[in-house]
Amino acid sequence: MALSIEDIKKIAHLARIEVSEGEAAATLTKLTGILGLIEQMQAVNTEGIVPMSHSQDVVQRLREDVVTKTNQREAFQKIAPALGNGSTERAVDCGLYLVPKVIE
Protein backbone atom coordinates (compact mmCIF):
# COMPACT_ATOMS: atom_id res chain seq x y z
CA MET A 1 0.00 0.00 0.00
CA ALA A 2 1.36 3.40 -0.96
CA LEU A 3 1.62 5.92 1.86
CA SER A 4 0.35 9.48 1.50
CA ILE A 5 1.37 12.69 3.20
CA GLU A 6 -1.82 12.40 5.26
CA ASP A 7 -0.73 8.93 6.43
CA ILE A 8 2.64 10.31 7.54
CA LYS A 9 0.93 13.02 9.55
CA LYS A 10 -1.41 10.50 11.15
CA ILE A 11 1.45 8.13 12.07
CA ALA A 12 3.51 11.04 13.41
CA HIS A 13 0.58 12.09 15.57
CA LEU A 14 0.23 8.54 16.93
CA ALA A 15 3.97 8.58 17.68
CA ARG A 16 3.70 12.04 19.29
CA ILE A 17 6.31 13.55 17.00
CA GLU A 18 5.66 16.93 15.43
CA VAL A 19 6.43 17.06 11.69
CA SER A 20 6.41 20.14 9.50
CA GLU A 21 5.02 20.04 5.95
CA GLY A 22 8.55 19.90 4.54
CA GLU A 23 9.61 17.12 6.88
CA ALA A 24 6.48 15.12 6.07
CA ALA A 25 7.31 15.12 2.36
CA ALA A 26 10.93 14.04 2.95
CA THR A 27 9.78 11.40 5.45
CA LEU A 28 7.29 10.05 2.92
CA THR A 29 10.06 9.35 0.41
CA LYS A 30 12.27 7.60 2.97
CA LEU A 31 9.49 5.55 4.54
CA THR A 32 8.22 4.48 1.14
CA GLY A 33 11.71 3.11 0.38
CA ILE A 34 11.85 1.22 3.69
CA LEU A 35 8.33 -0.19 3.25
CA GLY A 36 9.36 -1.33 -0.24
CA LEU A 37 12.13 -3.35 1.42
CA ILE A 38 9.70 -4.77 3.97
CA GLU A 39 7.22 -5.70 1.23
CA GLN A 40 9.46 -8.68 0.26
CA MET A 41 7.93 -10.53 3.21
CA GLN A 42 4.54 -10.77 1.53
CA ALA A 43 5.85 -13.31 -1.02
CA VAL A 44 6.48 -15.86 1.75
CA ASN A 45 3.83 -18.41 2.65
CA THR A 46 3.67 -18.40 6.44
CA GLU A 47 0.43 -20.31 6.91
CA GLY A 48 0.45 -22.32 10.12
CA ILE A 49 3.80 -21.00 11.35
CA VAL A 50 3.79 -20.06 15.01
CA PRO A 51 5.02 -16.45 15.45
CA MET A 52 8.35 -16.17 17.29
CA SER A 53 8.52 -13.30 19.75
CA HIS A 54 11.66 -14.35 21.58
CA SER A 55 14.57 -16.61 20.79
CA GLN A 56 14.29 -18.55 24.03
CA ASP A 57 11.02 -20.21 24.91
CA VAL A 58 11.05 -19.20 28.54
CA VAL A 59 8.16 -18.22 30.75
CA GLN A 60 7.97 -15.02 32.76
CA ARG A 61 9.67 -15.48 36.10
CA LEU A 62 7.86 -14.69 39.31
CA ARG A 63 9.57 -13.33 42.39
CA GLU A 64 8.74 -13.20 46.05
CA ASP A 65 6.47 -10.30 46.99
CA VAL A 66 9.09 -8.46 49.01
CA VAL A 67 10.38 -4.89 48.99
CA THR A 68 13.41 -4.61 46.70
CA LYS A 69 13.51 -0.92 45.74
CA THR A 70 14.36 1.91 48.05
CA ASN A 71 12.98 5.43 47.75
CA GLN A 72 15.31 7.50 45.56
CA ARG A 73 13.01 10.40 44.85
CA GLU A 74 15.70 13.02 45.29
CA ALA A 75 18.12 11.31 42.92
CA PHE A 76 15.44 10.81 40.31
CA GLN A 77 14.00 14.30 40.59
CA LYS A 78 17.40 15.88 40.18
CA ILE A 79 17.24 15.02 36.47
CA ALA A 80 13.65 16.19 35.89
CA PRO A 81 13.45 18.78 33.08
CA ALA A 82 10.79 20.90 34.77
CA LEU A 83 12.89 21.71 37.83
CA GLY A 84 14.72 24.57 36.20
CA ASN A 85 12.00 25.29 33.75
CA GLY A 86 9.10 27.12 35.28
CA SER A 87 8.33 24.87 38.22
CA THR A 88 7.68 26.23 41.65
CA GLU A 89 9.74 24.99 44.53
CA ARG A 90 6.62 23.79 46.24
CA ALA A 91 5.70 21.35 43.48
CA VAL A 92 9.13 19.77 43.65
CA ASP A 93 9.10 19.72 47.44
CA CYS A 94 5.95 17.66 47.21
CA GLY A 95 7.69 15.24 44.88
CA LEU A 96 5.67 16.31 41.87
CA TYR A 97 6.63 16.55 38.23
CA LEU A 98 5.41 19.67 36.55
CA VAL A 99 3.37 19.35 33.34
CA PRO A 100 0.98 21.70 31.54
CA LYS A 101 -2.54 21.82 32.97
CA VAL A 102 -4.57 18.82 31.80
CA ILE A 103 -7.85 19.26 33.74
CA GLU A 104 -10.05 22.29 33.29
Binding site: T27, K30, G33, T46, M52, S55, I79
Partner: protein
Protein backbone atom coordinates in the same frame (compact mmCIF):
# COMPACT_ATOMS: atom_id res chain seq x y z
CA UNK B 1 52.01 -1.59 26.87
CA UNK B 2 49.02 -0.08 25.06
CA UNK B 3 49.14 -2.99 22.63
CA UNK B 4 49.35 -5.71 25.29
CA UNK B 5 46.71 -8.36 25.86
CA UNK B 6 44.49 -8.22 28.94
CA UNK B 7 46.29 -11.27 30.32
CA UNK B 8 49.69 -9.60 29.93
CA UNK B 9 48.43 -6.37 31.51
CA UNK B 10 46.95 -8.34 34.38
CA UNK B 11 50.29 -10.08 34.97
CA UNK B 12 52.19 -6.77 34.79
CA UNK B 13 49.81 -5.29 37.36
CA UNK B 14 50.17 -8.34 39.63
CA UNK B 15 53.98 -8.16 39.45
CA UNK B 16 53.89 -4.39 40.08
CA UNK B 17 55.72 -3.72 36.82
CA UNK B 18 53.11 -1.06 36.31
CA UNK B 19 50.38 0.36 38.52
CA UNK B 20 46.78 0.75 37.43
CA UNK B 21 47.17 4.52 37.83
CA UNK B 22 50.16 4.52 35.44
CA UNK B 23 48.38 2.28 32.95
CA UNK B 24 45.20 4.35 33.15
CA UNK B 25 47.16 7.59 32.77
CA UNK B 26 48.87 6.17 29.67
CA UNK B 27 45.49 5.56 28.05
CA UNK B 28 44.14 8.95 29.21
CA UNK B 29 47.18 10.60 27.61
CA UNK B 30 46.42 8.86 24.33
CA UNK B 31 42.76 9.85 24.64
CA UNK B 32 43.75 13.49 25.20
CA UNK B 33 45.99 13.35 22.13
CA UNK B 34 43.82 11.47 19.67
CA UNK B 35 40.22 11.73 20.81
CA UNK B 36 39.67 15.34 19.68
CA UNK B 37 40.14 14.02 16.12
CA UNK B 38 38.63 10.52 16.37
CA UNK B 39 35.68 11.43 18.66
CA UNK B 40 35.46 7.91 20.07
CA UNK B 41 34.65 9.13 23.60
CA UNK B 42 31.76 11.48 24.34
CA UNK B 43 32.07 11.57 28.12
CA UNK B 44 35.28 11.62 30.13
CA UNK B 45 35.69 12.14 33.86
CA UNK B 46 39.39 11.75 34.47
CA UNK B 47 39.25 12.34 38.24
CA UNK B 48 36.66 9.63 38.68
CA UNK B 49 38.61 7.31 36.36
CA UNK B 50 41.87 7.83 38.27
CA UNK B 51 40.10 7.34 41.60
CA UNK B 52 38.97 3.93 40.33
CA UNK B 53 42.55 3.17 39.27
CA UNK B 54 43.85 4.11 42.73
CA UNK B 55 41.29 1.84 44.36
CA UNK B 56 42.35 -0.95 42.00
CA UNK B 57 45.99 -0.50 43.03
CA UNK B 58 44.98 -0.82 46.69
CA UNK B 59 43.10 -4.00 45.86
CA UNK B 60 46.05 -5.45 43.92
CA UNK B 61 48.37 -4.71 46.84
CA UNK B 62 45.90 -6.33 49.21
CA UNK B 63 46.12 -9.47 47.12
CA UNK B 64 42.47 -9.87 46.17
CA UNK B 65 42.65 -8.81 42.54
CA UNK B 66 40.59 -10.44 39.80
CA UNK B 67 41.78 -10.82 36.19
CA UNK B 68 40.41 -7.40 35.12
CA UNK B 69 41.29 -5.48 38.30
CA UNK B 70 43.06 -2.26 37.34
CA UNK B 71 42.44 -2.64 33.60
CA UNK B 72 41.08 0.45 31.81
CA UNK B 73 37.92 -0.33 29.86
CA UNK B 74 35.72 1.93 27.70
CA UNK B 75 31.96 1.69 28.14
CA UNK B 76 29.47 2.26 25.36
CA UNK B 77 27.27 5.23 26.24
CA UNK B 78 24.20 2.99 26.16
CA UNK B 79 25.01 1.71 29.68
CA UNK B 80 23.76 3.78 32.59
CA UNK B 81 26.62 4.49 34.98
CA UNK B 82 25.73 6.23 38.23
CA UNK B 83 26.91 9.84 38.17
CA UNK B 84 28.07 9.62 34.56
CA UNK B 85 26.38 11.47 31.76
CA UNK B 86 24.61 8.73 29.79
CA UNK B 87 23.26 9.99 26.47
CA UNK B 88 22.84 6.97 24.16
CA UNK B 89 24.14 9.31 21.45
CA UNK B 90 20.96 11.40 21.58
CA UNK B 91 20.03 15.01 22.15
CA UNK B 92 17.06 13.56 24.05
CA UNK B 93 19.46 12.45 26.82
CA UNK B 94 22.17 15.08 26.30
CA UNK B 95 21.86 16.21 29.94
CA UNK B 96 20.91 12.88 31.48
CA UNK B 97 23.14 11.93 34.38
CA UNK B 98 22.27 8.33 35.20
CA UNK B 99 21.02 7.85 38.77
CA UNK B 100 21.93 4.14 38.83
CA UNK B 101 24.30 1.55 37.34
CA UNK B 102 23.56 -0.92 34.57
CA UNK B 103 24.30 -4.50 35.60
CA UNK B 104 27.23 -4.57 33.12
CA UNK B 105 28.73 -1.51 34.87
CA UNK B 106 28.12 -3.07 38.31
CA UNK B 107 29.94 -6.21 37.18
CA UNK B 108 32.95 -4.34 35.77
CA UNK B 109 33.11 -2.27 38.98
CA UNK B 110 32.98 -5.40 41.12
CA UNK B 111 35.78 -6.91 39.03
CA UNK B 112 37.87 -3.82 39.77
CA UNK B 113 38.04 -2.65 36.14
CA UNK B 114 38.62 1.05 35.54
CA UNK B 115 35.97 2.97 33.54
CA UNK B 116 37.89 5.20 31.09
CA UNK B 117 34.80 6.94 29.77
CA UNK B 118 31.67 6.59 27.68
CA UNK B 119 31.98 5.90 23.97
CA UNK B 120 30.19 7.46 21.05
CA UNK B 121 27.47 5.53 19.24
CA UNK B 122 24.68 5.85 16.71
CA UNK B 123 21.69 7.52 18.34
CA UNK B 124 19.84 4.90 20.42
CA UNK B 125 22.05 2.31 18.64
CA UNK B 126 20.18 2.89 15.37
CA UNK B 127 22.76 2.97 12.63
CA UNK B 128 25.69 1.18 11.02
CA UNK B 129 28.16 4.06 10.65
CA UNK B 130 28.02 6.05 13.91
CA UNK B 131 26.84 9.01 11.82
CA UNK B 132 23.45 9.28 13.51
CA UNK B 133 25.08 10.30 16.82
CA UNK B 134 24.00 13.72 18.10
CA UNK B 135 27.63 14.18 19.17
CA UNK B 136 29.08 13.80 15.68
CA UNK B 137 30.59 10.94 13.75
CA UNK B 138 33.60 8.84 14.74
CA UNK B 139 36.64 8.50 12.49
CA UNK B 140 37.86 5.04 11.56
CA UNK B 141 41.44 4.84 12.92
CA UNK B 142 42.53 3.01 9.74
CA UNK B 143 41.40 5.88 7.51
CA UNK B 144 40.02 9.09 8.95
CA UNK B 145 37.84 9.69 5.87
CA UNK B 146 35.88 6.51 6.61
CA UNK B 147 33.30 5.44 9.17
CA UNK B 148 34.07 2.96 11.98
CA UNK B 149 30.75 1.16 11.51
CA UNK B 150 28.01 1.18 14.08
CA UNK B 151 26.28 1.37 16.25
CA UNK B 152 29.19 0.62 18.63
CA UNK B 153 31.47 2.84 16.50
CA UNK B 154 33.07 4.70 19.41
CA UNK B 155 33.96 1.49 21.25
CA UNK B 156 35.37 0.00 18.02
CA UNK B 157 37.49 3.07 17.23
CA UNK B 158 38.69 3.28 20.85
CA UNK B 159 39.94 -0.30 20.80
CA UNK B 160 41.45 0.00 17.29
CA UNK B 161 43.28 3.25 18.17
CA UNK B 162 44.41 1.74 21.49
CA UNK B 163 42.53 4.37 23.48
CA UNK B 164 41.46 1.60 25.88
CA UNK B 165 42.46 -1.96 26.68
CA UNK B 166 39.02 -3.27 25.68
CA UNK B 167 35.46 -1.97 25.43
CA UNK B 168 31.84 -2.95 25.88
CA UNK B 169 29.42 -2.90 22.98
CA UNK B 170 25.85 -3.87 22.23
CA UNK B 171 24.45 -5.65 19.20
CA UNK B 172 20.80 -5.56 18.08
CA UNK B 173 21.40 -6.29 14.39
CA UNK B 174 25.19 -6.32 14.05
CA UNK B 175 26.30 -3.36 16.16
CA UNK B 176 29.26 -5.21 17.71
CA UNK B 177 30.29 -7.38 14.75
CA UNK B 178 30.06 -4.89 11.87
CA UNK B 179 32.18 -2.17 13.58
CA UNK B 180 34.58 -4.87 14.81
CA UNK B 181 34.94 -5.96 11.19
CA UNK B 182 35.42 -2.41 9.89
CA UNK B 183 37.97 -1.51 12.59
CA UNK B 184 39.91 -4.79 12.71
CA UNK B 185 39.03 -6.11 16.14
CA UNK B 186 37.52 -9.13 17.80
CA UNK B 187 33.94 -8.63 18.95
CA UNK B 188 31.43 -11.09 20.34
CA UNK B 189 27.64 -10.87 20.52
CA UNK B 190 26.63 -13.57 23.00
CA UNK B 191 23.50 -15.73 22.94
CA UNK B 192 20.44 -13.60 23.72
CA UNK B 193 19.89 -13.60 27.48
CA UNK B 194 23.49 -14.30 28.55
CA UNK B 195 24.42 -10.70 29.48
CA UNK B 196 21.95 -8.67 31.54
CA UNK B 197 20.13 -5.84 29.78
CA UNK B 198 19.39 -4.09 33.10
CA UNK B 199 20.35 -0.42 32.77
CA UNK B 200 21.23 -0.84 29.11
CA UNK B 201 19.08 1.71 27.30
CA UNK B 202 16.51 -0.29 25.34
CA UNK B 203 16.25 -0.27 21.54
CA UNK B 204 14.63 -3.58 20.48
CA UNK B 205 14.32 -5.65 23.62
CA UNK B 206 13.92 -9.08 22.01
CA UNK B 207 17.18 -8.57 20.06
CA UNK B 208 19.45 -6.31 22.19
CA UNK B 209 22.48 -8.05 23.66
CA UNK B 210 25.72 -6.69 25.12
CA UNK B 211 29.15 -8.15 24.54
CA UNK B 212 32.89 -7.46 24.48
CA UNK B 213 34.95 -5.66 21.83
CA UNK B 214 38.66 -6.31 22.22
CA UNK B 215 41.92 -7.07 20.47
CA UNK B 216 41.72 -10.86 20.61
CA UNK B 217 39.47 -13.82 21.35
CA UNK B 218 41.36 -14.43 24.58
CA UNK B 219 40.62 -10.85 25.69
CA UNK B 220 36.96 -11.33 24.76
CA UNK B 221 36.85 -14.49 26.90
CA UNK B 222 38.16 -12.58 29.93
CA UNK B 223 35.62 -9.80 29.31
CA UNK B 224 32.81 -12.36 28.99
CA UNK B 225 33.79 -13.88 32.33
CA UNK B 226 32.92 -10.51 33.86
CA UNK B 227 29.91 -9.51 31.73
CA UNK B 228 27.90 -12.74 31.55
CA UNK B 229 25.60 -14.03 34.26
CA UNK B 230 22.03 -14.26 35.47
CA UNK B 231 20.36 -11.08 36.69
CA UNK B 232 16.87 -11.23 38.13
CA UNK B 233 16.30 -7.57 37.23
CA UNK B 234 16.33 -8.45 33.51
CA UNK B 235 13.19 -10.48 32.78
CA UNK B 236 14.84 -12.22 29.81
CA UNK B 237 18.13 -12.99 31.58
CA UNK B 238 18.77 -16.73 31.52
CA UNK B 239 19.47 -18.53 34.77
CA UNK B 240 22.40 -20.75 33.82
CA UNK B 241 25.41 -22.06 35.64
CA UNK B 242 28.42 -19.77 35.66
CA UNK B 243 30.99 -20.77 33.06
CA UNK B 244 34.61 -19.96 32.27
CA UNK B 245 34.64 -18.66 28.70
CA UNK B 246 38.40 -19.19 28.45
CA UNK B 247 38.22 -22.90 29.33
CA UNK B 248 38.43 -24.22 25.76
CA UNK B 249 40.77 -21.67 24.18
CA UNK B 250 43.61 -24.13 23.70
CA UNK B 251 41.65 -27.05 22.27
CA UNK B 252 42.87 -28.21 18.84
CA UNK B 253 40.44 -27.74 15.95
CA UNK B 254 41.00 -31.16 14.37
CA UNK B 255 37.66 -32.42 13.08
CA UNK B 256 35.81 -29.13 13.59
CA UNK B 257 32.95 -28.94 11.09
CA UNK B 258 32.73 -25.45 9.59
CA UNK B 259 29.53 -24.65 7.71
CA UNK B 260 29.71 -22.15 4.87
CA UNK B 261 26.27 -20.77 3.99
CA UNK B 262 26.16 -20.26 0.24
CA UNK B 263 23.89 -17.23 0.74
CA UNK B 264 26.75 -15.42 2.52
CA UNK B 265 28.97 -15.63 -0.56
CA UNK B 266 26.40 -14.58 -3.15
CA UNK B 267 25.71 -11.27 -4.87
CA UNK B 268 26.28 -8.22 -2.70
CA UNK B 269 29.60 -9.36 -1.22
CA UNK B 270 32.60 -7.24 -2.18
CA UNK B 271 34.94 -9.47 -4.24
CA UNK B 272 38.07 -8.50 -2.28
CA UNK B 273 36.34 -9.13 1.04
CA UNK B 274 35.28 -12.52 -0.33
CA UNK B 275 38.92 -13.39 -1.14
CA UNK B 276 40.07 -12.52 2.38
CA UNK B 277 37.33 -14.72 3.85
CA UNK B 278 38.29 -17.59 1.54
CA UNK B 279 41.92 -17.29 2.67
CA UNK B 280 40.78 -17.45 6.29
CA UNK B 281 38.73 -20.58 5.55
CA UNK B 282 41.85 -22.12 3.92
CA UNK B 283 43.72 -21.40 7.16
CA UNK B 284 41.04 -23.27 9.09
CA UNK B 285 41.45 -26.25 6.76
CA UNK B 286 45.15 -26.28 7.67
CA UNK B 287 44.13 -26.31 11.33
CA UNK B 288 42.18 -29.50 10.69
CA UNK B 289 38.69 -28.15 10.09
CA UNK B 290 36.34 -29.89 7.73
CA UNK B 291 34.34 -27.60 5.43
CA UNK B 292 30.64 -28.31 4.92
CA UNK B 293 28.44 -26.44 2.48
CA UNK B 294 25.19 -25.38 4.12
CA UNK B 295 22.23 -23.21 3.22
CA UNK B 296 20.40 -20.51 5.17
CA UNK B 297 17.69 -19.95 2.55
CA UNK B 298 15.87 -17.15 4.36
CA UNK B 299 18.95 -14.93 4.86
CA UNK B 300 17.63 -12.31 2.41
CA UNK B 301 14.42 -11.98 4.42
CA UNK B 302 16.26 -11.14 7.63
CA UNK B 303 16.51 -7.45 6.73
CA UNK B 304 12.80 -6.94 5.94
CA UNK B 305 11.85 -8.91 9.08
CA UNK B 306 14.28 -6.92 11.22
CA UNK B 307 13.00 -3.59 9.89
CA UNK B 308 9.52 -4.53 11.06
CA UNK B 309 10.36 -6.06 14.44
CA UNK B 310 13.14 -3.73 15.60
CA UNK B 311 11.25 -0.48 14.79
CA UNK B 312 8.07 -1.94 16.32
CA UNK B 313 9.88 -2.66 19.57
CA UNK B 314 11.73 0.66 19.37
CA UNK B 315 8.53 2.68 18.89
CA UNK B 316 7.22 1.12 22.09
CA UNK B 317 10.49 1.41 24.06
CA UNK B 318 11.12 5.02 23.03
CA UNK B 319 7.61 6.12 23.99
CA UNK B 320 9.08 6.66 27.48
CA UNK B 321 10.83 9.83 26.27
CA UNK B 322 8.02 12.29 26.92
CA UNK B 323 9.93 15.18 28.45
CA UNK B 324 8.21 14.78 31.81
CA UNK B 325 10.51 13.09 34.33
CA UNK B 326 13.86 13.19 32.49
CA UNK B 327 15.26 13.89 29.07
CA UNK B 328 14.75 16.80 26.71
CA UNK B 329 11.73 19.06 27.09
CA UNK B 330 10.91 21.72 24.49
CA UNK B 331 11.27 25.28 25.75
CA UNK B 332 7.85 26.38 24.54
CA UNK B 333 4.57 24.54 24.17
CA UNK B 334 0.85 25.24 24.37
CA UNK B 335 -0.48 22.15 26.13
CA UNK B 336 0.52 18.62 27.18
CA UNK B 337 0.12 17.11 23.69
CA UNK B 338 2.14 19.94 22.18
CA UNK B 339 4.83 19.41 24.83
CA UNK B 340 5.14 15.71 23.94
CA UNK B 341 5.18 16.32 20.17
CA UNK B 342 7.67 19.20 20.27
CA UNK B 343 9.97 17.60 22.86
CA UNK B 344 10.18 14.40 20.82
CA UNK B 345 10.55 16.25 17.50
CA UNK B 346 13.47 18.22 18.95
CA UNK B 347 15.04 15.44 20.99
CA UNK B 348 15.21 12.68 18.37
CA UNK B 349 17.35 12.69 15.22
CA UNK B 350 16.10 11.83 11.73
CA UNK B 351 16.91 8.08 11.74
CA UNK B 352 15.38 7.51 15.18
CA UNK B 353 12.23 9.33 14.08
CA UNK B 354 12.04 7.23 10.92
CA UNK B 355 12.24 4.03 12.92
CA UNK B 356 9.65 5.18 15.46
CA UNK B 357 7.32 6.07 12.57
CA UNK B 358 7.87 2.71 10.82
CA UNK B 359 7.26 0.91 14.11
CA UNK B 360 4.15 2.93 14.84
CA UNK B 361 2.83 2.20 11.36
CA UNK B 362 3.39 -1.58 11.42
CA UNK B 363 1.74 -1.83 14.83
CA UNK B 364 -1.22 0.39 13.95
CA UNK B 365 -4.77 -0.94 13.64
CA UNK B 366 -5.30 -2.91 10.44
CA UNK B 367 -1.63 -3.51 9.66
CA UNK B 368 -0.56 -5.67 12.62
CA UNK B 369 -1.16 -9.05 10.92
CA UNK B 370 0.36 -8.07 7.58
CA UNK B 371 3.56 -6.73 9.11
CA UNK B 372 4.26 -7.58 12.74
CA UNK B 373 2.75 -11.05 12.87
CA UNK B 374 4.11 -11.95 9.43
CA UNK B 375 7.59 -10.82 10.48
CA UNK B 376 7.43 -12.92 13.65
CA UNK B 377 6.46 -15.95 11.56
CA UNK B 378 9.37 -15.46 9.17
CA UNK B 379 11.60 -14.93 12.20
CA UNK B 380 10.82 -18.52 13.14
CA UNK B 381 11.72 -19.71 9.63
CA UNK B 382 15.08 -17.94 9.96
CA UNK B 383 15.72 -19.59 13.33
CA UNK B 384 14.74 -22.97 11.85
CA UNK B 385 17.29 -22.47 9.03
CA UNK B 386 20.03 -22.27 11.66
CA UNK B 387 18.62 -25.24 13.58
CA UNK B 388 18.83 -27.32 10.40
CA UNK B 389 22.32 -26.01 9.53
CA UNK B 390 23.73 -26.89 12.97
CA UNK B 391 22.80 -30.54 12.37
CA UNK B 392 25.61 -30.57 9.82
CA UNK B 393 28.27 -28.29 11.33
CA UNK B 394 29.70 -27.03 14.64
CA UNK B 395 30.18 -23.38 13.66
CA UNK B 396 29.14 -21.29 10.67
CA UNK B 397 31.60 -18.95 8.98
CA UNK B 398 31.31 -16.13 6.48
CA UNK B 399 31.92 -12.41 6.17
CA UNK B 400 30.75 -10.14 9.01
CA UNK B 401 30.03 -7.23 6.67
CA UNK B 402 29.59 -7.05 2.88
CA UNK B 403 32.36 -4.46 2.44
CA UNK B 404 35.22 -2.76 4.24
CA UNK B 405 34.72 0.64 5.91
CA UNK B 406 32.92 3.06 3.60
CA UNK B 407 33.40 6.80 3.29
CA UNK B 408 31.73 9.12 5.77
CA UNK B 409 28.60 10.57 4.20
CA UNK B 410 28.38 7.88 1.54
CA UNK B 411 25.23 6.14 2.76
CA UNK B 412 23.85 8.62 5.25
CA UNK B 413 21.01 9.77 2.97
CA UNK B 414 20.05 6.29 1.85
CA UNK B 415 18.63 4.30 4.79
CA UNK B 416 18.03 1.16 2.71
CA UNK B 417 21.68 1.03 1.53
CA UNK B 418 22.79 1.52 5.15
CA UNK B 419 20.50 -1.30 6.33
CA UNK B 420 22.15 -3.73 3.89
CA UNK B 421 25.41 -3.39 5.88
CA UNK B 422 23.89 -5.84 8.36
CA UNK B 423 22.83 -8.51 5.87
CA UNK B 424 25.17 -11.15 7.39
CA UNK B 425 24.66 -10.25 11.04
CA UNK B 426 20.93 -9.61 11.52
CA UNK B 427 19.78 -13.22 11.14
CA UNK B 428 21.72 -14.31 14.25
CA UNK B 429 20.00 -11.62 16.34
CA UNK B 430 16.61 -12.77 15.07
CA UNK B 431 17.48 -16.37 15.99
CA UNK B 432 19.10 -15.27 19.28
CA UNK B 433 22.36 -17.02 18.38
CA UNK B 434 25.88 -15.90 19.31
CA UNK B 435 28.09 -14.40 16.61
CA UNK B 436 31.53 -12.85 16.48
CA UNK B 437 33.82 -10.99 14.12
CA UNK B 438 37.53 -11.81 13.97
CA UNK B 439 40.21 -9.88 12.03
CA UNK B 440 41.00 -11.95 8.93
CA UNK B 441 43.15 -9.66 6.80
CA UNK B 442 42.99 -6.52 4.76
CA UNK B 443 41.44 -5.46 1.50
CA UNK B 444 42.96 -2.63 -0.50
CA UNK B 445 40.44 -0.24 -1.99
CA UNK B 446 40.65 1.95 -5.10
CA UNK B 447 42.54 4.61 -3.18
CA UNK B 448 45.27 2.20 -2.09
CA UNK B 449 44.26 2.16 1.59
CA UNK B 450 44.41 -1.22 3.29
CA UNK B 451 41.25 -1.72 5.36
CA UNK B 452 40.46 -4.53 7.81
CA UNK B 453 38.11 -7.40 6.98
CA UNK B 454 36.27 -9.42 9.62
CA UNK B 455 35.50 -13.13 9.51
CA UNK B 456 32.19 -13.90 11.15
CA UNK B 457 31.86 -17.01 13.32
CA UNK B 458 28.32 -18.00 14.29
CA UNK B 459 27.81 -20.63 16.97
CA UNK B 460 24.90 -22.62 18.31
CA UNK B 461 23.09 -21.39 21.44
CA UNK B 462 25.46 -21.01 24.44
CA UNK B 463 28.46 -22.14 22.37
CA UNK B 464 30.51 -18.99 23.05
CA UNK B 465 33.40 -20.92 24.63
CA UNK B 466 33.78 -23.00 21.47
CA UNK B 467 33.57 -19.93 19.22
CA UNK B 468 36.27 -18.23 21.27
CA UNK B 469 38.35 -21.41 20.96
CA UNK B 470 37.84 -21.40 17.18
CA UNK B 471 38.88 -17.74 16.97
CA UNK B 472 41.80 -18.14 19.39
CA UNK B 473 43.33 -21.04 17.45
CA UNK B 474 43.21 -18.94 14.27
CA UNK B 475 44.86 -16.08 16.15
CA UNK B 476 47.70 -18.42 17.16
CA UNK B 477 48.65 -18.92 13.49
CA UNK B 478 47.82 -15.45 12.12
CA UNK B 479 48.74 -11.95 13.29
CA UNK B 480 45.91 -9.88 11.78
CA UNK B 481 44.52 -9.17 15.24
CA UNK B 482 47.83 -7.66 16.40
CA UNK B 483 47.97 -5.06 13.60
CA UNK B 484 47.27 -1.51 14.64
CA UNK B 485 46.72 1.57 12.52
CA UNK B 486 49.36 4.31 12.18
CA UNK B 487 47.62 7.28 13.69
CA UNK B 488 48.61 10.63 12.22
CA UNK B 489 50.05 12.90 14.93
CA UNK B 490 47.47 15.62 15.53
CA UNK B 491 48.51 19.13 14.58
CA UNK B 492 49.84 21.20 17.43
CA UNK B 493 51.20 18.23 19.35
CA UNK B 494 54.50 16.49 19.16
Amino acid sequence: MINSSLKTLSQMLAKKEVSSVELTQAFLNRINTFNPEINAYIALDQDRTLAQAKAADVRITAGNAEPLTGIPIAQKDIFCANGWKTTCGSKMLANFVAPYDAQVITKFDAAGAVNLGKTNMDEFAMGSSNETSYFGGVKNPWDFTRVPGGSSGGSAAAVAARLCAAASGTDTGGSIRQPASLCGLTGLKPTYGVVSRYGMIAFASSLDQAGPMAKSAEDCALMMNVMAGFDERDSTSLNREKEDYARDLNKPLQGLRVGLPKEFFAEGLDANVGKVIEAAIAEYKKLGAEIVEISLPNTGLSIPVYYVLAPAEASSNLSRYDGVRYGHRAAEYTDLMDMYCKSRAEGFGAEVKRRILIGTYVLSAGYYDAYYLKAQQIRRLIAQDFEEAFKHCDVIMGPAAPSTAFKAGEKVDDPVAMYLQDIYTISTNLAGLPGMSVPAGFSTGDDGKALPVGLQIIGNYFDEARMLNVAHQYQQVTDWHTRMPDLPTPQGTK
